[in-house]
């Protein structure tokens, strides 16, 4: 699925590991709008990215970071933020 690219305020979304496979991409540019939270962003992504990815993000365990800092689903987003959806870790 092709990335959505606009010249307006945007959020950069990153996917890793299993999530990148489900998304068929490791990054996606989403339109930013006022009072946006991570949860609202996920709703906006629904229908634009593969349903398997959306289902995983809604129903399975994943964490979120905003600008490389761990965050919560209801945290507010700013224009040009970098959001990453993080599946369970397995380093070491």
């Amino acid at each position: 699925m092709a990335n959505q690219v606009t010249g307006n305020a945007m959020i950069k979304v990153l996917f890793f590991a299993r999530l990148a496979e489900l998304a068929h991409t490791d990054s996606y540019n989403a339109d930013y709008r006022d009072a946006m939270t991570v949860r609202v962003l996920l709703d906006d992504m629904d229908g634009k990215l593969p349903q398997a990815l959306i289902d995983y993000l809604k129903y399975d365990v994943s964490m979120i970071s905003i600008n490389k800092v761990m965050a919560d689903w209801d945290d507010s987003l700013e224009d040009s933020d970098e959001i990453a959806f993080l599946p369970p870790f397995s380093g070491g």
Partner: protein
């Protein structure tokens, strides 16, 4: 307790040399009376499937792999109910979130410093495609006292496995499978919670 801990964190594809890493840490910690290090290696068998982790449920959920469109994932559904480590891996593939992984490791080192009297830490974690017997991770801690070095190295490894933005995929005779946090690793990390 030491005022400052010199921590070096490297995430890299290339292999590391144990003697060189040891010497570098020794040079950075002239006051140390002990250096403890741990090396993680790639095993040639699949990790034991988690019996309660949501990751395992996701792996085996009917229709999940079909939606993904990844042909290799279709083999995962056969793992449900398996209790052992049958099947050999061809290789593992490690990926990470560049920039955040290093930051998370630095946080882990800082927390280790708060808990233990340590002088310096060296962490090297490899990413990319690795084969059985390959070195994955190197964690070394220098301290004036060996018990503090042992304790800190164990803490760092427990947190590295459960807190750092690193992901591992096994590829082998049973297809491919992304690993999640294992129950025993989560348990090991939780014992440090104050």
């Amino acid at each position: 307790m030491s005022d400052t801990v010199v921590g070096e964190v490297r995430i890299q594809e290339q292999d590391f040399d144990l003697a060189q890493e040891y010497r570098e840490l020794q040079l950075r910690s002239p006051q140390a009376g002990a250096i403890v290090f741990f090396v993680g290696l790639v095993r040639d068998l699949y990790e034991r499937p988690s019996t309660s982790g949501l990751e395992a449920i996701a792996e085996n959920e009917p229709g999940r792999s079909g939606k993904s469109g990844k042909s290799g994932e279709s083999g995962e559904s056969g793992e449900s109910g398996e209790s052992g480590e049958s099947g050999q891996i061809d290789y593992i593939e490690l990926s990470h979130y560049a920039g955040m992984t290093e930051a998370m490791c630095e946080q882990i080192v800082a927390e280790a410093k708060q808990r233990c009297d340590i002088d310096a830490v060296q962490i090297v974690h490899r990413v990319g495609k690795l084969y059985a017997g390959d070195q994955i991770v190197f964690v070394a801690v220098a301290s004036r006292h060996r018990d503090e070095a042992f304790l800190a190295s164990q803490f760092i490894m427990d947190y590295l496995k459960t807190r750092a933005t690193i992901w591992k995929k096994e590829v082998g005779t049973r297809g491919q499978k992304w690993l999640g946090v294992k129950d025993k690793d989560e348990y090991a990390a939780k014992r440090w919670i104050k």
